[in-house]
């Protein structure tokens, strides 16, 4: 049994939506961050699915670049989060709002 390519796209869209939903609703910055990674990986899945459907290798190569970028983002993001942790005990996004107004 072959699974139609569009199913992969749907799964990817679901994952992307889930990631976005997570970023929007979660208060814990680490979880927000994880959700962000989920979004990126959902895009990877989209790329691979399209590459398969279009029979084009380009989409697969793109995934590599996205992976690299995601890794770099992880490094910097964690660095910033660690810095926040060190100064205050909280990891809740809603507490970080002294720049308002």
């Amino acid at each position: 049994m072959t699974i139609p390519g569009s199913w992969y796209l749907v799964v990817a869209a679901l994952l992307f939506g889930l990631g976005a939903f997570g970023v929007l609703t979660r208060r814990n910055v680490i979880v927000m961050f994880m959700s962000l990674e989920l979004m990126l990986n959902a895009v990877n899945l989209t790329f691979v699915s399209y590459a398969r459907m279009l029979n084009d290798v380009g989409g697969q190569v793109d995934v590599f670049f996205v992976l690299v970028v995601a890794a770099a983002e992880v490094v910097v993001g964690l660095g910033i989060i660690v810095a926040i942790f060190r100064q205050r005990a909280t990891v809740t996004a809603d507490d970080i709002s002294s720049l308002k107004g």
């Binding site: 679901l14 889930l18 939903f21 590599f64 992976l67 890794a71 910033i80 660690v82």
Partner: protein, 142 residues
């Protein structure tokens, strides 16, 4: 509108799935709460705020260094798969790529990012303080 059907389905399914998983976990998870169970400690003063979590930073540093090599492998593996066909051109390109990563690595080592063993705790603390006070951690991991 037929052409948008996949998109609409995607959106709807995305929403339903996202919401459903939250609702589902709320409904399905066994919940028999009582006060003592909700309190972080069963005796003593009820804390007013969340206790700070312990957060060992050094693992992040290690993880970041790991990521550098992890990423290097991502590019090296496809190169290896087609190294023969790519020939000299490929070797030169990959060497350039490795050189860049190596310089970043040399910078890390020079700044003491790898000296995290217990025996050299002293020097590690220096790095840690520097990270905390001046330069964000990300700089080291780049």
């Amino acid at each position: 509108m037929a052409q948008y059907l996949p998109i609409v389905i995607m959106l709807v399914l995305g929403g339903v799935f996202a919401a459903g998983s939250f609702i589902g976990s709320g409904l399905l998870a066994p919940k028999r709460p009582h006060r003592a169970k909700l309190a972080p400690y069963e005796c003593g003063i009820v804390p007013r705020s969340e206790p700070p979590e312990r957060f060992p930073v050094r693992f992040f540093l290690v993880a970041m260094i790991f990521i550098i090599f992890d990423i290097e492998i991502i590019f090296l593996y496809p190169f290896a798969a087609a190294a023969g066909e790519l020939g000299t051109f490929g070797v030169i390109e990959v060497a350039g790529f490795a050189l860049v990563v190596f310089i970043a690595f040399a910078y890390l080592v020079a700044n003491g990012a790898l000296s995290w063993g217990p025996s050299r705790k002293q020097s590690y603390r220096v790095v840690e303080e520097r990270l905390a006070s001046k330069v964000p951690t990300g700089v080291r991991g780049e």
